[in-house]
Each structure stands twice: as C-alpha cells, then as structure tokens.
C-alpha cells in the first residue's frame, strides 16, 4: 500500500463512522444554516450594499460550522483510546495526519457546498452560474481550513478547555483563508467569474501548500508520548 492509499484508509474509517452515526456533518450543516439565518436578522432588508455583505455571511457560516467538525475529529479518537490504536499502526505519523486531514476535508467541503446552496436560495444568488466556481473556492478554502485545523485539533484535544481553545487557536491563523475566500467569492457572486479574483485564488493555493507542508512536518510533535 502506498503512502496516499494508507492515509485514505484512515480517512475511510472516519467516513464510515460518520455514515453510521451521522453526527458530525448533520450538526455542522444545521449550525451553518442557523448562522446564515441569524445574520439575516442583522442585515437591513433591501440594503443597497447587500452584495458587499453576502460573502461575509457565507464565510462566517463556513468558519463557525467548520470548527464543529474539527472539534469532533480528534475528540472521537480519544474515546476508548482509539488514538492509541491509531498511533500503534505501523505507519509514518504523516500518514495518520493526512488520513485525519482527508476525513476533515471531505466533511468540511460537503458542509461548505450544501451551506452555499442553502445560502444561494435565501439570498437569491444565481446558483447555476455560480456553483462551479464556488465549488472550486470552497474546496481550496476547505483544504487550508482542514490542514491547520486538523493539526490544531490534535494540539487542543488533550487539554482542559478543548473546544473553545481550538477556535481561539484556529481563527486568527485562518484570517488569510477567510479573507481570500470572501474576496474571490464576492467577484463570483457579482457575476464577474473566477478570473477577476485570480489574485485571491493564488493566495489560497499558496496558503494550502505552505500550511499543509508545515502541518505534515510538525504533526508528529503533537501526538508524541
């Protein structure tokens, strides 16, 4: 088995567990919907600058819902000492990191796309035209979010204030991702297409590559006994 297929096996484990319990993704989705709903009451109806506010609503929902999945990611491994079993696997620690990362990526990306569809219906977005470019942006943002998120989930899992701490650790580091995603999706929602926001897409790609690489390198230190 190769490096990637081993990681995928770990991700598959998480996906199968999720399919059986349906705990994480459902709660992420509902939470994302609720954030959009609540933001809606903070925005004046018929606001002239509504288009400028929309991407902010979407990405706030994405961030807050995404953190729910990350909170569960390593917490569920702690139950019944599953993490011990995982660490005893005769594989490189980087494989374990990538496996958990792939699992989180799948959940986050699915959540992102479904939340976007919900959002586009409520905010009258041209779904057909915007869906493909938005899926690309959501995917790039999910990679950045899940890469650092998986690492920090492993950092915070053994600590007292686990869940709150993960948000406090992750949100400031996520600023470039959220900014770039909001800026590029603003262009798409304005009907300008992906090309207009290529600078921001480039930033997302750079962020993804840099932080995935760093996370793979330092993950080992977070699970060491």
């Amino acid at each position: 088995m190769g490096f990637l297929s081993r990681s995928w096996a770990i991700a598959q484990k998480d996906i199968v567990a999720e399919l059986r319990t349906r705990e994480t993704v459902i709660s992420m989705l509902l939470f994302g919907f609720l954030v959009i709903l609540i933001f809606n009451f903070g925005i004046e109806p018929g606001l002239r600058e509504e288009n400028l506010v929309k991407p902010g609503v979407l990405w706030a929902a994405f961030t807050f819902a995404g953190i729910l999945g990350l909170n569960r990611s390593f917490a569920q491994e702690k139950e019944n000492d599953c993490l011990q079993g995982l660490l005893l696997c005769p594989v490189d620690r980087a494989v374990i990191y990538l496996g958990k990362f792939f699992g989180n990526l799948v959940f986050t990306a699915i959540m992102g796309v479904v939340v976007f569809i919900f959002f586009s219906v409520l905010y009258n977005v041209d779904l057909v035209g915007a869906l493909l470019p938005m899926v690309l942006i959501l995917l790039l943002a999910s990679v950045g979010f899940s890469s650092v998120g998986t690492l920090f989930s492993s950092v915070s899992v053994g600590l007292k204030t686990r869940d709150v701490l993960l948000s406090i650790l992750l949100f400031p580091v996520m600023v470039p991702v959220i900014l770039a995603a909001a800026k590029s999706s603003a262009r798409v929602l304005d009907g300008d297409g992906l090309g207009a926001g290529s600078l921001w897409l480039g930033l997302l790609v750079v962020y993804d590559v840099v932080f995935l690489a760093i996370s793979v390198m330092v993950f080992d230190y977070t699970v060491e006994e």
């Binding site: 650092v148 690492l151 920090f152 950092v155 915070s156 053994g158 600590l159 007292k160 204030t161 701490l165 406090i168 650790l169 949100f171 400031p172 580091v173 600023v175 470039p176 900014l179 770039a180 600078l199 930033l203 750079v206 962020y207 840099v210 932080f211 760093i214 996370s215 330092v218 230190y221 977070t222 060491e224």
Partner: protein, 243 residues
C-alpha cells in the same frame, strides 16, 4: 500528578537561577533610559508642525511595535524550533517569556496607535494592513498564552505550544500580504530614500528604540529566571514528596 518536567536535571537551571550583578546593572540602565526617553520625547523633541503634541506618542508607539514584531516574536519562534530539536525546557521557557513580553508591547502599540489616530485620521481604527496585521498578531500570541495556560507545565505543553508558535509565526507574513492588497494609509517612515524625519526627532526615535530593546532584554532575562526558579521549586517539591 507528576509532570514530565521532572526528568529535567536539577543542575540545568542552577546557574541561571542565581542573581547576577550585570542583570541588575541592565535593569538600572533600562530604568534610567526610559526616564531619559520620556524627557526627550515629551519635552526635548520639537513639536511637530502639523500634528502638534499628539505626535510625541509616536516615540513610544513605534519602539513598542518594533520590540514586539521584531525581537520578541522572533525569539519565541526560534526558541520553539530549538526546543523541538534539543528538548531542553529552558528554550520553551525563553519562548514563553518572549511571547508574553511581545503581547505586552503589542498591546501598548494597539493602545497608543488609536489615541494618535483619532485626531490625525479622524478615526480610532482603520483596516489598514499594518493595523490589521498587528491585531491578528495580538490574537495569535494571546492564543499561544491561552494554550499554555490550559496545560500543565512539562514537555507535553512545550511540544504543543512550540508547534503553535511555529505555525503562528509563519502565518504573520501571509496575513500581512493578504491584507496589503487593500489601500494603506499608515505613515511610511522609512522609504527607499532613508528616513523622512527631522534630525532631532530621528535622534529621539533612535534613542527610544534602543531603550525599548534594552528593556525587552532585561524583562526577558528576569522573566526566564523567574520561570526557571518556578520549575526548580516544582521539582524540589516532587523530590521531597517522593522521599
């Protein structure tokens, strides 16, 4: 509960834990320096022609920003890496002390900036790249201190916080880049042509920069020594209990 720190040999902190003359001299120098800097900035330096007296805040604003963004967070980053390589808790303590001082100076920067900006820009805050990056930086290092606060002292805490310090530090230039693609209105002092300041103002600024750096070094030494002693006390207590 036993901490992993118990494995550290007692002798390793002994030399650092003792008071030494030159640390006191450094402290005295910092004190005198800060007093002279206060005099220079508030009384000696000429009043700025356009901004008036409010400009004097800049002699403390910029040196604070320099100490935080320059030595303080860089030392925290470098010592975190050294800890992960060498596994010597001393470096973890240096990183923590440096980050703590960095947060303090970032706070001073974030407080003095808006006081100046209100009369000059007409607003306490703008989402300028430097301001925003400094704010995000503040959040990152406060998170670092929170992470340390919610874990027991020892190698596990050192590992986790080192990982976070490394990721957080690498994030800073990316944050700055991403926010720079908006317009910037922060005064640019040092351009390609050198400093755009009156010579006497430049002197006060340079003096203040020097004093703040000195103060940082002094605070760092005192804080690290304090942490060294604390971990030594912890280990002595454990030895006593095991007896």
């Amino acid at each position: 509960m036993t901490t992993e720190g118990a494995s550290e040999p007692l002798a390793s902190t002994r030399s650092f834990g003792q008071r030494s003359m030159w640390v006191d001299v450094l402290g005295l120098l910092s004190l005198v320096g800060v007093l002279v800097a206060l005099y220079l900035a508030l009384l000696w330096a000429p009043t700025e022609a356009v901004m008036g007296d409010i400009q004097r805040i800049f002699y403390f604003h910029m040196p604070s920003a320099w100490v935080a963004l320059g030595p303080a967070f860089t030392v925290a980053f470098v010592c975190s890496i050294i800890y992960l390589v060498k596994r010597d808790l001393r470096y973890d303590r240096i990183a923590a002390a440096s980050a703590e001082i960095g947060v303090m100076f970032t706070t001073i920067t974030l407080v003095t900036g808006p006081i100046w900006a209100r009369p000059i820009w007409g607003a306490y805050w703008t989402w300028d790249p430097r301001l925003t990056t400094t704010l995000v930086l503040w959040f990152i290092y406060v998170a670092y201190l929170m992470l340390r606060a919610s874990s027991a002292p020892g190698h596990k805490r050192a590992r986790l916080s080192s990982v976070f310090a490394i990721v957080g530090f690498v994030d800073v230039p990316v944050v700055f880049m991403s926010i720079r693609w908006w317009r910037t209105i922060h005064p640019l002092l040092i351009s390609g042509k050198g400093m755009s300041l009156d010579p006497s103002m430049e002197f006060v600024l340079m003096f203040s920069l020097g004093v703040f750096t000195l103060l940082y070094v002094y605070l760092l030494i005192v804080r690290v020594r304090q942490e060294d002693l604390k971990s030594r006390v912890d280990r002595l207590r454990q030895q006593l209990l095991m007896r």
